[in-house]
């Protein structure tokens, strides 16, 4: 009986993000007649693309029950290097170099997380967050940095009517989806997140997996930085500041658990788009700017609340049942 009710609740909780999304769209659609247009949908996707890309990266880390607070700092360092040192170089060379910087910085995180095992990645990446922000400030001297017209023009380029940022976003999403679902590496990430001891016993090289996910996360943070800078053209010392919050929120909102082993990039993308939809809806309805952080905070809070309820119900359902027939 009780369990039956639980199952219904669970179904509702699982559907909750979609219901919330629908509600948000309907509310803003009623409030602003421009909201429900293809063009606006494109805008939302474009603007959420850098968050979504970084959130995809952090999904890999969260799946192993880790966390990376340094993504915003990596993003800033990557862009600062692009603007300051890779100015004259064509983007086809400059962008991969920036990606490499992201991988290197992610590798630093990964190295410390593995070496300082027993210390939560939270505190490790908190430290690298400080160090990398410091490095970026050192590079830029806190000045605003500008990128070349060749980078900026990408922010205005469309292929087949779809902006460049969305293409990048789509490519990252598809690759990430395939990697997580269809490659041995992806499935082993899930295994490590579920139970690292068992994973080690099954012969999985757990440190290697952990190291790789931080590299991926660093790489995608750099890519997110590129996508963002191509749109906004210049980066001040607040570039990427505290962006880890919406990024983590997007992943959690999409159903990726902070405790590892559960979630995926589809949900993450959904979460990122939902957050951006709300932001854009608030601007379109000319809402008072003070309310933005409040609304965002409330949305994240509700998402995690739902996740918490879902987890506890899953736990109850997962408990051993002696008398199975009574709950069927």
């Amino acid at each position: 009986m009780q369990v039956g009710e639980n199952r219904t609740t669970l179904l509702l909780l699982n559907a909750a993000p979609w219901v919330a999304f629908l509600a948000v769209v309907v509310v803003f659609g009623v409030l602003s007649d421009r909201f429900l247009t293809i063009q606006n949908f494109m805008n939302i996707l474009t603007q959420s693309s850098h968050i979504a890309i970084m959130a995809i990266g952090i999904t890999f880390v969260l799946l192993t029950a880790g966390i990376d607070l340094s993504v915003g700092a990596i993003m800033y360092v990557a862009v600062a290097v692009l603007a300051l040192f890779l100015g004259g170089i064509p983007v086809v060379i400059a962008f991969p170099l920036v990606g490499l910087i992201g991988v290197a910085l992610g590798a630093m995180n990964g190295y410390f997380v593995i070496k300082l095992r027993g210390q939560h990645p939270f505190i490790v990446t908190l430290a690298t967050l400080f160090i990398l922000r410091g490095a970026a400030i050192f590079l830029t001297d806190t000045r605003m940095v500008f990128v070349e017209e060749s980078v900026m023009s990408l922010g205005r380029t469309s292929y087949f009517g779809v902006p460049w940022a969305i293409w990048v976003f789509a490519v990252v999403f598809v690759i990430a989806w395939i990697v997580l679902r269809e490659t041995p590496f992806g499935r082993q990430i899930y295994a490590v997140g579920q139970d690292p001891t068992a994973a080690a016993k099954a012969g999985i090289n757990v440190p290697r997996i952990l190291f790789s996910v931080y590299c991926i996360c660093g790489f995608l943070a750099a890519v997110g930085g590129l996508v963002s800078i191509a749109q906004v053209a210049a980066a001040s010392s607040t570039f990427g500041f505290q962006i880890e919050f919406p990024v983590i929120a997007a992943a959690v909102l999409g159903g990726t658990s902070l405790f590892g082993g559960r979630g995926g990039v589809v949900g993450t993308v959904f979460g990122a788009v939902l957050i951006q939809t709300v932001q854009s809806g608030l601007v379109m309805t000319n809402a008072t700017p003070y309310i933005y952080p409040l609304v965002t905070a409330v949305i994240i809070f509700l998402a995690v609340l739902i996740d918490g309820l879902r987890t506890s119900i899953l736990d109850t359902l997962g408990r051993r049942k002696i008398r199975v027939e009574e709950i069927a």
């Binding site: 430290a127 490095a135 952080p293």
Partner: protein, 351 residues
Amino acid sequence: MPIDAAETPVDTKVEIPKVRAFRRLLERLILSEYLVFYITGVYFLIVWPIVPEIASFSSLRNILTDMLPLLVVAIGQTFVLIVAGIDLSVTGVIAMASVVGASIMTSDGGYLQGSALAIPVGIIAFLVVGGLIGGFNGWCVTRLNMPPIIVTLTGMMFLGGAAIWFTKAHSPTSSIAGLPRAFVAIGGGTFAGVPIALFVAIAVVVVAHFLLSQTVFGRWLYAIGINPKAAKVSGVPVDKAILWAFVISGVCAAITSMLLTGRLETGTPVLGQRILLDIIAAVVIGGTSLAGGKGKIIWTVGGVLFLVTIDASLKLLGSSLFIVFAVKGGVILLAVGLDAMRQRILARGSG
């Protein structure tokens, strides 16, 4: 080669005991719970010749008064970390309590402008804001099964925004000034030459230390941090104790808010926004574990002292923001590295 080989044993025979003794001393130092005090001392001695001003009376006094607000909020954080939680909303509490308290006391249009009750009610408002927010955090964590990181993270975002909104509704400018002199004294005033803030901080330290080391409540907190399931089976009111840990953290943040608000003579919604990482870093550097079950007030005092000493030296050196960031990040890494090393030595020692 053979000649060298013949000589080496002589050397090593002399060297080994010394090396061993040195190693043992080093291990003892690393294992010591007061490690951070020693490091602070060493650091101080290193920078002394570079910036002699750091040892002046007024500079030492500045270090002392600069550390008080950070210390109080870090003490609250210690309670939460001991139960294996974390409270990121403290900066939000600092901001919110600051503007709410100020809105009551301010002489330009405060709720109790000019009333004799203004200051007591204002102080109570600070504490109530902190206590309520802490209580809400604790409730979410214990009752709604939400991870503390996220609960308090959203709390931080929400309160930061709400504090600006609140200020906007109470002041034409971006902050609330005109606070009564008697209140301002809490942050900046002195009594018999001693900063009043020092009395406040000492009171907090003493009460917190007593709670943690001498009372049933303190034992409960440690037990929960080590193993909440076992604590529950042993009859510890786990949920209630965690709730109270968050309330204490909120109240401590509110006291810090009072100190800072008094010091700047202004209620501002961005107060403390940038010190979140300092707070957690200070507690962790002191030796309190993020994994719970381990922590002492005296350790936190050491961690805060260390951080503020470094900060003071960097300020006197006129260091750039880059160095400040890099040093802080490096220090956190160093602290976790030392802790990892300590764990390894302990495991070996018993193996």
